[in-house]
């Protein structure tokens, strides 16, 4: 098992590309296949955007990214200090409905679920959110 972590004390949307790059570098070192890597980056992108835009209301806030490799799985832990929010409790949207019959929005958590093998949420003992994205990359 390998573990690396990165800390962004004042994370904002401008840091998204760098955050994705760090996750991508680790995935590549694991020889993740391109399809799995793309999906993991989409899920992570969604989770990070939600933290910054919803959690921190687009104001700078701390985010820690911890990337753990276990066998062929890549596990991304995202820690933040935004108000508590459990995305795994959000009900799934009906994506088969025509756009005419849908309200815009509500797809973020759906994307995280669809692009990972497992999505877990924990409240940290000292407070704050921990979101865990598990992706099989082998």
């Amino acid at each position: 098992m390998n573990k690396v972590s990165y800390y962004f004390p004042e994370a904002g949307l401008a840091d998204m590309a760098e955050m994705r790059r760090l996750i991508e570098e680790t995935a590549v070192s694991l020889h993740a296949n391109q399809d799995a890597l793309t999906e993991l980056l989409l899920a992570a992108n969604e989770a990070l955007t939600n933290i910054i835009v919803h959690g921190y209301q687009s104001q700078p806030g701390p985010i820690e990214i911890e990337i753990v490799t276990e066998g062929t799985a890549l596990i991304v832990h995202l820690y933040d200090r935004a108000p508590l929010f459990d995305p795994t409790a959000v009900p799934p949207p009906d994506t088969t409905l025509p756009l005419e019959q849908r309200q815009p929005g509500g797809l973020g958590v759906h994307m995280m679920r669809q692009f990972t093998n497992q999505l877990q949420y924990r409240i940290r003992p000292a407070g704050g959110n921990e979101l865990i994205l598990v992706k099989q990359c082998g």
Partner: protein, 126 residues
């Protein structure tokens, strides 16, 4: 995100937005679409060639642009009910594999035409 606007003439006038950067927010896409719509544009092709990622916010914006361009005209209710309706007003060109995954997982690829050939995309507007 940066947007360049060009006009093409197919069977109808087509406004083309070339997007550059991640589509992760409502702006500036929605405002630019509103400006074009208010100026009379009714057919919009979004060139996604230089869009690495579309987030759920980007998808929501595409949905809002779809509604904007639809205006007061209801879609073909028969084909909507049958799940075969695609917008005649808003179409997409050349999304990246990652952008295509976002469109697909949201089910948007069922309701928006996605083209890989630019000339065919322009010609498809009627």
């Amino acid at each position: 995100m940066e947007i360049s606007v060009t006009q093409e003439t197919g069977q109808v006038p087509v406004t083309v937005f070339q997007l550059r950067g991640d589509l992760t927010d409502e702006e500036p896409l929605y405002s630019q679409a509103k400006v074009a719509y208010d100026a009379g544009a009714r057919y919009l092709l979004l060139d996604l060639t230089a869009v690495p990622y579309i987030s759920s916010y980007g998808l929501r914006t595409l949905h809002k642009v779809y509604i904007l361009l639809r205006g007061n005209t209801a879609g073909d209710t028969g084909s909507i009910a049958a799940g075969t309706y695609k917008s005649p007003h808003l179409k997409l060109f050349n999304p990246s594999p990652a952008a295509l995954k976002s469109l697909s997982v949201a089910g948007y690829d069922m309701f928006l035409e996605i083209h890989k050939n630019y000339s065919e995309a322009i010609a498809s507007f009627k």
